[in-house]
Symmetry: C2
Subunit: 386 residues, 2 copies
């Protein structure tokens, strides 16, 4: 298999956007091509991460529509779906296409347009990412499922409400530095703790917002990456795993085995260990999810992930900054776009182009994208090409 | 890239099924594993073709759910969507995974459960496979789009209403021989011509039915295919192409350029030409679609595809039998399953196990799976391993 590099990245502002879902996706695609300096006609294959285009925006079969709008021509165009990990899975299919020699220039995008739905409608659409017959049917939408996980984590390891709040405070502070973030405002720990409850112990500021947005990544073989203007970023690992979809089928709801399995494979592929990672974008759909992810990825022992934000270790300036983009929490979570927005942030950081949120001397970054309540996980490790 | 073979195939009966969408998918998976003689724990990756699980059956994120129900364990599980070509695209991702060395044993399935919807609801869900802003918004659902194509084909090439009817008569006659077909009954040309109009010139018998069903295929490297009981079938080609999604954006609505492009690539990969094909399963969502496909694939000059069924050339016993399974027309068209049901039929034929519908001495078969009104196309060529 060939080594794969990232030649260009593109993103739209996240938030309530006026464009159609197709126009959003095409905009991110064009931005990635422009960043790479590659004309659209040279793209050989296109993968699109999207979770629920039909339910949210009335349009299915989105891959050829976005490809057509982006001027890619008649290249094989494939939509990939794995709930909130749709973007990460699309990235992985793109990496395999280049690594295998199937294609040289592969564009991968992710898109979701969600803000046309009411909060209640959105919760219903999102609930279809879980095991509906076991969970949504009895009212267990995602805030409820992650509230169960938070309660159990608090009970089992003594994690505090303050530790959850610290994740929100940190990611909002990061998001304030990201001009594409949906929520560009600071919140205080008191505001998080006093916010309207959504599913206790989770309050409004423990939940990622409903957003529109798109992100895209252009891949090529590393041996050709030097021919273009941008400083390329290498894909050291691309791994994926699954797990039982329903919480009730898991042995321990304080851990996502899909994450630990995907992370183990990714670290093995890269020949690295958790301490080698300079920064990470992890799937903080809820504050508790960031804490669980940091443990499952091997950055903290199980039960101690809350320390990251509480002690400032995962903030900008800390030992290993997490979610410098603002994370899903503040950047926003247009579901299909999220996995590629994570890659976008890592690429900016590894190029040294992240502006006021730049992590000094960032050389290796990890992206963790979770689908449902842990049924799907994609982990990517990227490195600056020096 | 490694040569890829098919080790096992499985299918459920098509029609109105009592099982849940997850149970249907899992049933086809287990049948393919059993056919191959491979325990589920040896599967290394899973791809699922599904078009609209959420809209039709209230469940998205289906790949890990079906994988879990089929006992596959935590293997990477990815849903692939390309409208009515979802199954063909999933097949192609599976072939790339094995060919590249990413995995040895890869299971690919397709599933759809549609009969819970009314005919009107189903037309609405299916319309989201087209360019909704250009077509569905003005009432152009798929029967209307294919009626336009039929009218134009009749106008441009003198194709007759009888030629369309002959496709329906032939495929119903084939479906009568397939115990898994949704519609196991003969129709006469008079019945087809006198049937209730759906979108003129297309009547009820020119349209494939709304069906539930699933099909699955187990892939492995050809070099390992001999270790198992079944006679393996080789994948000689796996190709995909796209085109402008809206009919209004096509240069000529009597041809699908996605089909001709995918076919050209597939024949090049296989080192074969149309006359080398012994039988084909083509995407006859409407009778006119079979005629257009036979032309775009290179089996007939443009405008002459109607001759196939009219002259008996594409019937069992003819020079190149087409849709021996009954096709989408009579076998049924559970959208996500269709591409894999086509592969299932070819494998039975190439193994010499197709019973009363066996094509004598069948050695090379082609499957053609179309998405939307030609925005996506997948073409596979299979050969008996001798």
């Amino acid at each position: 298999m060939r080594s794969v590099s990232i030649l260009g990245v593109g993103i739209t502002p996240f938030g309530a956007r006026p464009e159609s879902i197709v126009a959003l996706g095409a905009r991110a695609c064009r931005a990635a091509l422009e960043d790479a300096g590659l004309p659209p006609g040279r793209v050989e294959a296109f993968f699109l991460g999207n979770f629920a285009g039909q339910a949210f925006a009335g349009q299915n079969h989105l891959a050829p529509l976005v490809a057509h709008a982006a001027g890619l021509g008649p290249v094989p165009s494939t939509r990939v779906e794995g709930a909130c990990a749709s973007g990460g899975l699309a990235m992985r299919q793109g990496v395999v296409a280049v690594a295998s020699g199937e294609a040289d220039f592969v564009l991968v995008a992710g898109v979701e347009k969600m803000t046309g739905a009411s909060a209640e409608e959105a919760a219903g659409v999102l609930a279809a990412a879980g095991d509906c017959r076991a969970e949504a049917r009895v009212g267990a939408t995602f805030p409820a499922l992650f509230a169960l996980i938070a309660r159990r984590h608090m009970h089992q390891y003594g994690t505090t409400r303050e530790a959850l709040a610290a994740v929100a405070v940190k990611n909002h502070a990061h998001g304030l530095l990201n001009p594409n973030a949906h929520l560009q405002r600071e919140v205080t720990r008191a505001q998080v703790l006093d916010a309207r409850p959504v599913a206790e112990p989770l309050g409004l500021y423990d939940c990622s917002p409903i957003s529109d947005g798109a992100a895209a990544v252009l891949l090529c073989p590393s041996e050709r990456a030097g021919d273009f203007g941008q400083r390329p970023v290498r894909v050291l690992a691309s791994a994926q795993a699954a797990d039982a979809p329903a919480l009730a089928d898991k042995r321990d709801i304080t851990r996502f085995e899909a994450t630990s399995r995907a992370a183990e494979r990714a670290f093995r592929q890269a020949g690295l260990e958790p301490p080698d990672i300079d920064l990470a974008e992890v799937h903080d759909c809820f504050t508790i999810a960031e804490i669980v992810a940091l443990e499952d990825l091997g950055f903290y022992p199980k039960g101690e992930g809350g320390r990251g934000a509480l002690a400032g270790e995962t903030a900008l300036g800390g030992a290993m900054p997490v979610n410098t983009s603002g994370g899903l929490k503040a950047k926003g979570h247009p579901v299909g776009a999220t996995g590629l927005a994570q890659i976008h942030e890592l690429v900016l950081q590894l190029r040294g182009r992240a502006g006021p949120r730049q992590v000094p001397a960032a050389e290796v970054g990890l992206a963790h994208n979770l689908g449902g309540s842990g049924a799907t996980c994609a982990v990517h490790i990227l490195a600056s090409a020096g």
